[in-house]
C-alpha cells in the first residue's frame, strides 16, 4: 500500500475503534488512537504475517505489552481477515473472546498481556529462540510510556542487549500521558532515549503518528548489527479526534453519541481530503 492508502486505512481503523468502543461503552480510547499509525504500518506493510495461516512458522511476532490499548489491534486484525469483522460487535460483551486485552484464543494474538511490564521479557525470549535456532523472524514489542516505570522492562532491556538481539524491535508509544496525568509528573522518565541507549539499544526517534517516518524506521532495522532497536514513537494520545488529543481523561473515556458523531465526521473529512489529493495526482 502507498503512504496515502495507509493514512486512509489508519483513519478508517480509528473510525472502527471509536464505533466499537461507543457501542460497548467501554475501552481505552486515547491509547488506541495514539498507537493506530504504528499498528497500521506494522500490520499492512512491515510484518511478515499471513492472516490465513496465523501460526506461519517464520512469521514476525507482535507482542502488545500495553495490552489495554487493544481496540485498534482488534479492528486491524479483523480488517486483515484474522477473524470476521462482524465479531467486533461482541467486543467486551459477555463471554466474548474480544476482551479488553489481547487474548491468544483469537487468531493473530501471540500472548496474553494486560499486566504491564510483561511484553518485553516475553519478546526477549522469542527473539532469543529465533537466534538460537537461526530463524529469520523478528519480534516487535509495543510498550506504553507509563508502563516503563515497571522494573521488569529494564531487566528485559538488559537481557536484550546482553544477547545481542538485533531481531528485537521495541516500540515506545511515547504519548506523554498516563491515567493520572503527564508521565513526567507521575514518575519522570526523561531522559528516556538516553536510558535505552545506556542499556545498549540502538534508539531511533520518529513522529509516531507519521506513517512515512514509521515505515522508514522499521525498514532500516537493524541499523546496528548485534543490538536491539528501540523506536521512540512520539505520538499524540487521542490522535485524530480534536477534542480527545492530549487530554489525559481520554485514557479510558468513552465517546457519547454526540462526540462519536463529531469524531467520525472529523475522520471522514480527513479521508475525503486524502482521497481528493489522490485523484488530483
Amino acid at each position: 500500500m502507498d503512504i496515502r492508502a495507509l493514512k486512509i486505512k489508519a483513519a478508517q481503523i480509528r473510525m472502527d475503534l471509536l464505533t466499537m468502543i461507543h457501542r460497548a461503552q467501554t475501552g481505552h480510547t486515547g491509547g488506541s488512537l495514539s498507537n493506530t499509525d504504528i499498528l497500521t504500518a506494522l500490520y499492512y506493510e512491515v510484518m511478515n504475517i499471513d492472516p490465513s495461516n496465523p501460526n506461519l512458522e517464520d512469521r514476525d511476532r507482535f507482542v502488545a505489552s500495553k495490552g489495554h490499548s487493544v481496540e485498534s489491534l482488534w479492528c486491524i486484525l479483523a480488517d486483515r481477515g484474522f477473524f470476521p469483522k462482524e465479531e467486533l460487535e461482541t467486543y467486551s460483551q459477555f463471554g466474548t473472546r474480544l476482551i479488553g486485552h489481547p487474548n491468544n484464543k483469537v487468531p493473530g494474538i501471540e500472548m496474553n498481556t494486560g499486566a504491564l511490564g510483561h511484553g518485553l521479557p516475553i519478546s526477549v525470549g522469542m527473539a532469543l529462540a529465533a537466534k538460537r535456532d537461526g530463524r529469520p523472524y523478528r519480534v516487535f514489542c509495543l510498550m506504553g510510556d507509563g508502563e516503563l516505570a515497571e522494573g521488569s522492562n529494564w531487566e528485559a532491556a538488559m537481557a536484550g542487549s546482553h544477547y545481542k538481539l538485533d531481531n528485537l524491535i521495541g516500540i515506545v508509544d511515547r504519548n506523554g500521558l498516563q491515567i493520572s496525568g503527564s508521565t513526567e509528573e507521575v514518575m519522570g522518565l526523561e531522559p528516556l532515549e538516553e536510558k535505552w541507549a545506556a542499556f545498549g539499544w540502538h534508539v531511533v526517534s520518529v513522529d509516531g503518528n507519521d506513517i512515512e517516518q514509521l515505515l522508514a524506521a522499521f525498514r532500516s532495522v537493524p541499523e546496528v548489527s548485534g543490538r536491539p532497536t528501540l523506536i521512540m514513537a512520539n505520538t499524540v494520545k487521542g490522535k485524530g479526534v480534536s477534542f480527545a488529543e492530549n487530554v489525559p481523561g481520554w485514557h479510558h473515556h468513552v465517546p457519547n453519541d454526540e462526540q462519536l458523531k463529531l469524531a467520525l465526521a472529523e475522520l471522514s473529512s480527513y479521508i475525503d481530503q486524502l482521497s481528493l489529493k489522490g485523484q488530483v495526482k
Partner: protein, 313 residues
C-alpha cells in the same frame, strides 16, 4: 534405607544432561543460580541450550514463556523463595494464562536455607502455586522420584511448579523401578488404622512414624502425594473411607498447602478426623532442617503421638 549423598538438584541436572543430547528443545535457564541449582555441567555441555538471565526473576519467567511460545521446553532453575513470589505474576499471566510450556524448578525449597531467615524460606510457595489455574505442583520425595519426575516433565505439556530441597535426602525408594505418574499418589505402605499423607522430604518422616506406630500395633497407610495439583482425590477419599483418620505432613505453612488441599477433599467427600502438621503462621525459626523440623513437630515421634490421640478419641 540406604544413605544417599546425591542432592535432588544434581539428579535433575544429570537427567536433563542425558535427555538434552537428543532433545534440542530442552533449555535450562538460571538466575545467577547455575551453581546452587547444580546446573553448571549443563551450561558447560550445552551452551546453546542454556540461558543465564542474571538476578532477575520476573524476566526469567517472562523470557521462558517467550521461549516456550517458540517451541522450546524451558526449565527455570531458581531458588523457590524468589521464583514463587517475585515471579508470581509472570507465572500467572505468561505461563498459566497464556498456556506456555514452562517448567519452574524451585530449588532450595522449604526451609533448606534454614539459617538465612524468612526471606530465603519458601513455605508459602505451594499455597500460591496451587491457586494458579492449570499449574501443576510437584514435590519429589527422593533422588529416584526426582529422576522420574524430570523425565515426566520433559514429556508433559503445560506449566509446572516443582519444588526440591537443597541437601541430599535419604532414599524412600530402593530404585526407580516403580510407576510414577503426575497426579497419581504412591502408596508407600498399606495399613487400616490411619493414613499419613506426605510430600517431598516429609515422606521419609511419615514412613518413620508408620514404623514407630507399627511397634504399638497401629497399622498405617502412607501416601506419597508427590503431585499436590492435580490432586489424587480418589486416593484421599479411599484413605478416609478405609482408614478413618488422616494426618498430613509438609515442609510448608499449615495454611494453603498439602494439609489444606487434602482437607478440602476430605470435608466434601468423606469427613474424618484430621491433623495437619507443618510450619505455623510465623516467620520460621532459624536452624538446620532437622532442628527446624523438631521445633515444629515435623518428626516421626510427634506424628506418632498425634496419631494415637486421633485414633483413641
Amino acid at each position: 534405607m540406604t544413605m544417599n549423598t546425591i542432592p535432588n538438584r544434581q539428579v535433575i541436572c544429570d537427567t536433563l544432561l542425558e535427555l538434552a543430547e537428543n532433545d534440542k528443545d530442552i533449555m535450562v535457564l538460571a538466575s545467577d543460580s547455575r551453581g546452587s541449582a547444580a546446573m553448571a555441567p549443563f551450561a558447560n555441555k550445552y551452551p546453546q541450550q542454556f540461558v543465564e538471565v542474571g538476578i532477575a526473576e520476573q524476566n526469567i519467567v517472562g523470557m521462558s514463556a517467550g521461549l516456550a511460545h517458540s517451541g522450546k521446553k524451558p526449565f527455570v532453575t531458581s531458588p523457590a523463595c524468589f521464583l514463587s513470589m517475585r515471579s508470581i505474576e509472570q507465572i500467572k499471566v505468561d505461563v498459566a494464562y497464556s498456556a506456555t510450556n514452562v517448567k519452574l524448578i524451585g530449588i532450595s525449597g522449604g526451609i533448606s536455607y534454614g539459617a538465612l531467615g524468612m526471606s530465603h524460606h519458601s513455605v508459602q510457595d505451594i499455597a500460591v502455586a496451587r491457586a494458579i489455574p492449570g499449574l501443576a505442583v510437584i514435590l519429589p520425595a527422593d533422588r529416584h522420584e526426582t529422576k522420574k519426575m524430570t523425565e515426566a516433565l520433559v514429556n508433559y505439556e503445560g506449566g509446572v511448579y516443582a519444588r526440591i530441597g537443597r541437601n541430599p535426602v535419604a532414599d524412600v525408594y530402593e530404585s526407580d523401578e516403580y510407576d510414577f505418574e503426575i497426579g497419581k499418589a504412591v502408596t508407600m505402605k498399606d495399613g487400616s488404622d490411619l493414613t499419613i499423607i506426605a510430600a517431598g522430604e516429609t515422606v521419609r518422616i511419615a514412613l518413620g512414624a508408620a514404623e514407630a506406630l507399627a511397634n504399638d500395633g497401629v497399622t498405617c497407610r502412607v501416601l506419597n502425594m508427590h503431585t499436590i495439583k492435580p490432586l489424587d482425590e480418589a486416593a484421599i477419599i479411599a484413605a478416609a473411607a478405609e482408614t478413618g483418620h488422616i494426618i498430613t505432613v509438609e515442609e510448608h505453612s499449615i495454611y494453603g498447602g498439602l494439609g489444606a488441599a487434602v482437607a478440602e477433599v476430605v470435608v466434601q467427600n468423606a469427613p474424618v478426623p484430621m491433623k495437619v502438621v507443618g510450619i505455623p503462621d510465623e516467620p520460621a525459626i532459624a536452624g538446620k532442617t532437622a532442628e527446624v523440623f523438631r521445633h515444629y513437630g515435623i518428626t516421626a515421634d510427634h506424628i506418632k503421638q498425634l496419631a494415637l490421640e486421633l485414633i483413641n478419641k
